[in-house]
Symmetry: C2
Subunit: 529 residues, 2 copies
Amino acid sequence: MVVQGKNIIGFSLSAASEEFVNSYDPREARTLEKFYMATKEEIEETLQKAAKAFEVYKQFPGSKKADFLEAIADEILVLDDELVQMAVKESGLPEARIIGERGRTVGQLMLFAQLLREGSWVDAIIETAQLAREPLPKPDIRKMLVPVGPVVVFAASNFPLAFSTAGGDTASALAAGNPVIIKAHMSHLGTNELVARAIAKAAQNTGMPDGVFSSLNGRGSSLGQQLVMHPVVKSVGFTGSFTGGMALYKAAAQREDPIPVFAEMGSVNPVILLPGKLKASAAETAKQYAGSITLGVGQFCTNPGLLLAIEGEELKSFLETLASEIQEVTPATMLNEGIWKSYQSGKVKVLEQIGVTLLGAGAEQEGNHLGSAAVAQVSGEDFLDNPNLHEEVFGPFSLVVKCTDKEQLLKVIRTIKGQLTSTIMAEPGELEDYQDIVRAASDVAGRLLFNGVPTGVEVCHAMQHGGPFPSSTDSRFTSVGTDAIKRFVRPLALQGFPEEMLPDEVKNSNPLGIWRKVNGELTRDAING
Amino acid sequence: MVVQGKNIIGFSLSAASEEFVNSYDPREARTLEKFYMATKEEIEETLQKAAKAFEVYKQFPGSKKADFLEAIADEILVLDDELVQMAVKESGLPEARIIGERGRTVGQLMLFAQLLREGSWVDAIIETAQLAREPLPKPDIRKMLVPVGPVVVFAASNFPLAFSTAGGDTASALAAGNPVIIKAHMSHLGTNELVARAIAKAAQNTGMPDGVFSSLNGRGSSLGQQLVMHPVVKSVGFTGSFTGGMALYKAAAQREDPIPVFAEMGSVNPVILLPGKLKASAAETAKQYAGSITLGVGQFCTNPGLLLAIEGEELKSFLETLASEIQEVTPATMLNEGIWKSYQSGKVKVLEQIGVTLLGAGAEQEGNHLGSAAVAQVSGEDFLDNPNLHEEVFGPFSLVVKCTDKEQLLKVIRTIKGQLTSTIMAEPGELEDYQDIVRAASDVAGRLLFNGVPTGVEVCHAMQHGGPFPSSTDSRFTSVGTDAIKRFVRPLALQGFPEEMLPDEVKNSNPLGIWRKVNGELTRDAING
């Protein structure tokens, strides 16, 4: 498939503007194809198509939407090596990583298709009438989740497949029954076009309405703002920087009809190293963390950017191993020039702060946009006094905070902001003495790990990828796992409707055989009525 | 119990300020007791107590929180006629209505207690580890809902018991595991104090921490804003006017760490009268609606303020009966002077709009703050052109919009804003021809009724009281029914924790016997591990 650099507006390709940007190869530091920016008219056409498509799409049964999601997965696989090489070229990520990420993307789509086929995700709740109740009869009320309307998805740079065009936000919004408009990420425009066209093809082949999916090129500050402020748009999914996420969140709150923005804005993912663990396995833990900090050039929302520990002999031995492991890490190309520059300046800024010293740094090497790993250290006292040290440095960097004692460690944890994850590294036996610490660590995070690394984010029913602010804008939702669908639906209660007018999900006969809460009891049985 | 006019700060009564307001009897138009405004110091003390109480309260098992909610219900009943008479005096509502509302309030508390004792509401989701999975092992992840922290509740005037001090917001926030701070409603300060002291007593008797509940007196524009902006506060529940709700919503979005505000701001609750229904039972339907419009002097969030129909003989006969029924309605005292004044001016404003004519008005009578019923009519065309006619007139008023045909009716429905409810009055046989209308009516509402009146809001699992903006700030949540608890919790995932460290809700052994989704399947079984 030849990349055309156009916007994908429903089933049509469009390039009305002469304004363009080039895609870019960060390893070679050279520009690639031209991509035409969406015009005002193209944006309007896209949104009108989405609104019209919604009227049709929202009425489709789960099985038909599942067909669509599965067809997207198939079409992505059909792109084969062309897609892999494009993503490698545009992101600088290694081929094995992109192939793994493609598997995750396809798996994610299949998981949502499975959720739709099973059907119970609509959370059907039925209360049958009690006409004889005194003093007033109880009406028949049946509630289920319904789609909210067109969703704008802002693709992320660090997962050009799994958190981008056909990533978790798109899969969950489409599964919910909403059309999706993608704001293509500037750092993988070709990858975006290939995947967007695969989605459009899947939509056509499975009888979806024109406009159920579109992808537009443009800048966040212009295209992004226009999309979020448009009355047709009912919800927003975003993965990226704090600045970008908050700009959208604040704009959406200023609309005449405010809409929810679920922005996942990353975090420093503190890891708490308890003394017993360091005593039992300092070297092993250090090796494990050196790997987690530098995985994918540290370009994960769940990268452990903060290691918190109590001073002592065991910590010393841990830090020695960590420093020597970090020195072994060869630098690699970062996702784009902007991220690379931010990493360089962010690292320097931390190292310039009072009390911060470098523990160890990765080898330097010739090449473009190479991110070299680094680990620094600071005392608990200096950390507590300095908010600059609480900010995320996106990349293979971690700061070790050496606390004088348990009380200072607790104070440090209570001072840090909301996080996607926090991790306790401990021997089970020592937890009895650190209950306050465990509790404080769970208060700040959406996911709390015990003796693991936070960098893997499993796509499953139990995943929570969204924590207290500022890691995300609403800790009540997740952007990874099947519960991600809940961001894009609302409950609708139907009162007093006769059986034949009810949607299948809440009919007495339960034709879909789904789990429902009937008069307070979960059951898959039909209602005798 | 003698009303003392103080703030209830945890287990203490406090009145540090000399500034006070008087409670008021709207029927007699006379001032009653003095109530002292909370000072800055008292507000700070309240919030610090709440933060401290949270650390203890959130760890309590469901059964202990259930004891507390049941004790609140008991203490409310112990207040007996004293509470009833106080609420009657301060609200102007009839005794029978207040007694009914007390039943609803107590029932609501008991329903949440039952939810806690059953325990499955935490939505436990468990994925067990697959250590042999390739290419990477699958970790053990267990997710459940946990409380977010102190919740501020803004009491509503129109339900001095059921949507106030111990109402649905308080019951659901406490059930979730969060301390509650009440901003007492100025129009029933004595009722508030009686109930707040009953809650404090119940808290003491059931071993709750000091600060689990407080109630403060003050103005929304000062006390309310201070509470919402305070870092200790993690969520807000509000029932009231659009202006009041939006002021809080916008303030909360401007915080350094934005917090969710669930504001239920009322709506006009359109009722769509289809021709077949009017033909079959015009008079009966008119009588039913005359009753619904004027119930409780029209002071319900779900009052049907808009009747939409297609012109014709049947409509004429419906309107004649409606007009004559309305003329029979004797006026009654409204909740407070502000609401009465707004009703008078709102009604006049609508009647002054182009094309609006009065259809019928209730009898006039001598008395204080009496709201007299009125029904007006306007053409579909004039309605479409005039946004002033789309606004809620809080009170016993309804506007009939006479559409030329089905297309205009559809256009009218698509023009109106988000609603708590919408209602279809129809003969089952005619719905086939009006599918677009039904769909449009469900798009704008949180609850869609068939052949009923929206004014009853059943407290049950299936209720949805929260619709698209501006009826509420987030259509994904409800403020009535057991799902109201979801506003005040967030999911927390625990990864890799050994059995003994897990909360009971997600232990392999399932000691609480609750429903859980284990590896994708709902079950109450223990996990063999």
